[in-house]
């Protein structure tokens, strides 16, 4: 096949591209420039799309022996990911921009462009596996549980999965570094990237405050009694305990947690730990990686964070919303996060959490 290798400048995508070449594909390396004003250097594990990253990607492509180009996706990224990140926070939800990037950029804008140009698919360094089965190509967890990225790929529909190649899913990260070394790739020991790439400081709250301002508002208990003031509701996260600066202590001295963020009234609601408990969740905009889920309840697992636990649940579709009922309660679940349903290690699909109970 003729495929585009999305190369970030990191070790994973470099090895993925090299493996795709060895598998006999005709591979062209593409680095996505996602920031219209890139930083020159990378700082530790944070940030991406620096000029240094683009150089690393180019160098890896040269060593592998494939052509290399840079695609400017800065506008698409800003519109589809960064603006969404801000508007979600402004609406009191907690978005995951990595999922959004996979959904809107890597396996949409890039894959669409690649297909229009005569390519068959996109290869990336994500840790996940695909399998051919009687229900078509399916998406599965990676072998390495610490690196498994199937959660952030659960926004891909069947067409997108058919156009995706993930050559690293069967290998542990430590072995990928060894392989990179053996292949003479200089990025073999480059640190993994963490956090949100467009917030290089790692300070999400500060980043949001700089761009959206900070409007002071009340922090209240569940009865509406004012306990303190916050500096911008969107800089709080459900389940957050620290940094609330409350002046009225609870009767028994027990800590309070953020239970709810109400953007319209600019109010943060806090309460006791047990009030964080969630036993069911609803998600909108469901996307199915394989066959669609129906109204009949099915047993499986739901995961609500990138490296969170797989929770036993019963799931079903209810009026275009995906519902998961948990066997055991979960503490602190923010709307805006993705709920990803698994059947064993197969990714069934995902939805954006809009309601919890």
């Amino acid at each position: 096949m003729k495929i585009i290798a999305a190369m970030s400048g990191g070790v994973d995508s470099a090895v993925a591209a090299a493996r795709a070449v060895e598998a006999g594909h005709e591979v062209i390396g593409v680095h996505l420039a996602l920031s219209s004003n890139p930083q020159k250097y990378r700082s530790g594990a944070r940030g991406c799309c620096t000029i240094e990253d683009s150089h690393d990607a180019r160098r890896a492509a040269d060593v592998i022996g494939i052509p290399f180009y840079i695609w400017d996706m800065a506008d698409e990224f800003h519109e589809g990911v960064v603006e969404n990140f801000m508007s979600e926070y402004a609406a009191g939800r907690t978005p995951n921009p990595c999922l959004r990037c996979n959904e809107k950029i890597k396996f949409a804008a890039v894959l669409d462009r690649a297909k229009a140009m005569g390519f068959d698919g996109v290869v990336t360094g994500h840790y996940a596996r695909t399998r051919e089965s009687d229900i078509g190509r399916t998406l599965h967890r990676a072998v390495d549980p610490l690196k498994d990225q199937s959660y952030v790929l659960a926004v891909l529909n069947r067409d997108q999965i058919n156009g995706a190649i993930f050559p690293l899913g069967d290998t542990e990260k430590v072995d990928i570094r060894i392989e990179a070394e053996a292949r003479g790739l200089a990025v073999a020991q480059k640190p993994d990237s963490h956090d949100i790439c467009f917030v290089p400081s790692g300070d999400n709250a500060g980043w949001l405050r700089d761009r959206m301002g900070s409007e002071v508002g009340p922090i209240v208990d569940q009865d509406g009694n004012k306990l303190g003031e916050h500096k911008g509701a969107y800089t709080y996260t459900i389940g957050q305990r620290k940094g609330l600066g409350l002046t009225v202590p609870t009767a028994d001295g027990s800590p309070r947690f953020v239970l709810k963020i109400e953007p319209v009234s600019n109010t943060v609601v806090v309460g006791a730990r047990e009030d964080l408990a969630v036993t069911s969740m609803r998600g909108e905009r469901p996307i199915f990686c394989g066959p669609a889920v129906g109204a009949a309840p099915q047993r499986g697992f739901v995961q609500v964070r990138a490296h969170g636990a797989a929770l036993d649940c019963t799931y079903y579709l209810d009026n275009d919303q995906l519902v998961a009922e948990l066997d055991a309660p979960l503490l602190g679940l923010a709307t805006g996060q993705a709920m990803v349903i698994y059947d064993g290690d197969r990714v069934v699909g995902s939805a954006t959490i809009c309601e919890t109970a």
């Binding site: 683009s54 180009y69 840079i70 698409e76 804008a109 229009a116 140009m117 005569g118």
Partner: protein
């Protein structure tokens, strides 16, 4: 088959230049040394200087060898600015970054004031604007710099008229693209300074020259041994200088042949893509450069597709991160940023053949179709 249509970026070294360079590389001697070896290398360098002087019609002593055309441009812009007690720098809006960036640097760091001379839709500078600025502010202008021909479109600029209009104001001309391609005389143009480069004319990389009028002393960028008129220090790069001169003296560029190939290419493109637009086509142009807009495409996609068909061409410009940017040259000619990003430069040289043209023409229809498709999904 692979076809190289990016001769304006760099062009193959002539065999005579490679041979001259090989010979010189095996020869020992710093041209500034006083002993036998040094004198012998110095002779080679001065022979080369005279050969290049003949080709460009200047005095040998007016040639200051530099490490690149960019260095010569920087030396000219900064040197002529520092040489003057005036603050205004006048450049055309379509200059190479090797001119624009030092000019902007002088604005930011040295209190210069930059005035860009606009160009018309055919890519030729607006002489009326120039006259007006000079009429109003002639005693404030430190220097004028206008390129002899543009590197993206090949459009030739009216340098002789600019020099006449400038009067006593020093005029520098970046002639990197024009040198050996069209008749060029430093003396007849009446210039103060001019830039040329080795690797654009069949010579090696890493050698350029600033032609600076005799007895004009400008401050140096590189201080050291003072080798080149105290304006440029650094051990003379004898092998590259000798090879540069060998390429120039061989006089192998066949402008008529290159022009015929370029014209055949443009006719073929227009035949298969009638909506294509040749930028600067109404102007006098260098024989080897063709800048073409393919409406509804993005040039970075086109370049990838051409490259995968083994045809090498170029998009206008890329930023330091390698991201394609709309060409400032095409935008100065009035193209929108979207149209400017739909343009490719094809440039022909001494080694280009009719077979190259035929092959490139054979792949263009499919490349453009795919490019149109890729762009339309991008807009979805």
């Amino acid at each position: 088959m692979s076809v190289y249509l990016d001769h304006a970026a760099t062009t193959p070294m002539f065999d005579v230049a490679i041979e001259a360079m090989n010979t010189a590389l095996r020869k020992l001697g710093n041209p500034s040394s006083l002993h036998t070896e040094g004198r012998s290398t110095r002779k080679d360098v001065e022979d080369a200087r005279e050969q290049i002087a003949r080709a460009i019609d200047c005095l040998p002593s007016e040639i200051i060898f530099t490490g690149s055309g960019t260095e010569a441009d920087n030396a000219a812009i900064k040197g002529l600015f520092w040489h003057s007690d005036k603050k205004v720098i006048l450049v055309s809006s379509i200059e190479h970054h090797a001119i624009l960036d030092p000019a902007h640097w002088l604005v930011e760091h040295e209190g210069a004031q930059l005035i860009e001379i606009p160009v018309d839709g055919d890519g030729v500078i607006d002489l009326h604007f120039l006259k007006q600025v000079i009429a109003e502010r002639s005693n404030e202008i430190a220097l004028i710099s206008v390129m002899h021909s543009n590197n993206e479109t090949g459009v030739i600029q009216p340098i002789a008229e600019i020099v006449t209009i400038a009067g006593d104001i020093p005029v520098h001309c970046d002639a990197v693209q024009s040198f050996t391609k069209v008749p060029l005389s430093f003396k007849k143009l009446g210039l103060f300074a001019m830039t040329i480069s080795g690797h654009k004319v069949g010579g090696p990389l890493g050698i350029g020259a600033l032609i600076l009028r005799r007895a004009v002393e400008i401050p140096a960028l590189l201080h050291g041994g003072g080798q080149e008129r105290d304006i440029r220090s650094g051990t003379l790069n004898a092998p590259s200088i000798v090879a540069f001169a060998a390429a120039v003296s061989a006089n192998l560029y066949n402008a008529e042949k290159v022009l015929a190939l370029r014209d055949a290419f443009e006719s073929g493109v227009l035949a298969s893509r009638p909506d294509a637009v040749i930028n600067g086509k109404n102007s006098e142009r260098l024989p080897g450069i063709s800048n073409i807009t393919f409406p509804g495409t993005q040039s970075d996609s086109l370049l990838l597709l051409m490259d995968s068909q083994k045809v090498s061409c170029s998009t206008g410009a890329a930023c330091t991160a390698g991201v394609q940017r709309p060409s400032h040259v095409l935008m100065a000619m009035g193209l929108s940023d979207v149209v400017a990003q739909s343009s490719l430069r094809f440039s022909f040289g001494s080694t280009s053949t009719q077979a190259d043209v035929d092959y490139a023409l054979s792949v263009i229809p499919d490349v453009i179709e795919r490019g149109l498709a890729a762009h339309s999904v991008g807009k979805k």
